[in-house]
Amino acid sequence: MTATLVELEAITAARVVDARGAACPGPLLEAKKAIGTVPLGSVIEVWSTDPITKTDIGAWSAKVGHDFLGALAAEGYDRVFVVRRK
């Protein structure tokens, strides 16, 4: 389930995690920690300067059972969105 860019822009995440500057697997581990802190159905937003993070968080979401919504390019980093599903 991927959202359009316009839909992503409209999202207010329940939790924003700033993992900028961290290399793999840092941002993924931050996402894993953060998702447990929001209610089911809520969105977390992970900021990462590693361009691989959006692909990796997509793979992790598919494996673990969360909904990966996609990513927005910000200035020098990506904003990656995931809905907690379990």
Partner: protein, 135 residues
């Protein structure tokens, strides 16, 4: 085939330990049970009194063109990746009893991240038919 990932850590250099810690943390984040067995030089690296020391790098790192990345790799805290792996998932770290014996190490002198000591059979029982890597 079960979902677990088992890592036999043999080498005790910082670069290999960091690579192993990355794999362990990634698998833990994916919800896979991770079993780590420390043997020989990897076991030695987990001695509590020396864990913060410079653990050196693999032979590959000696090539002149790697000089610059080597400086960066040295500054990566490999222990932190194992700590995070244990924090977010189901990760057990076992000290190989045979290696403890050969190296003359008491299990109580290892870093607290190490759960216990064990034999190869108990490790392989935990690993079952999941994936196993030797690093």
């Amino acid at each position: 085939m079960n979902d677990s990932l088992s890592l036999v850590l043999f080498s005790g250099t910082a670069d290999k330990l960091h690579a192993a810690g990355t794999i362990a943390a990634g698998a833990a984040a994916m919800g896979r049970p991770v079993n780590v067995l420390l043997m020989y030089w990897a076991l030695d690296a987990f001695r509590a009194d020396r864990i913060e020391n410079d653990h050196g790098l693999a032979y590959d790192a000696a090539r002149p063109r790697f000089h610059e990345p080597v400086e960066r790799i040295k500054s990566i805290p490999w222990l932190e990746t194992f700590r995070q792996a244990k924090e977010i998932g189901e990760v057990s770290i076992l000290a190989c009893s045979g290696s403890l014996d050969v190296l003359g190490i008491d299990v109580t002198t290892l870093d607290p991240l190490v759960d216990s000591s064990g034999g190869i059979a108990s490790f392989l029982m935990a690993a079952e038919d999941g994936q196993l890597l030797f690093i």
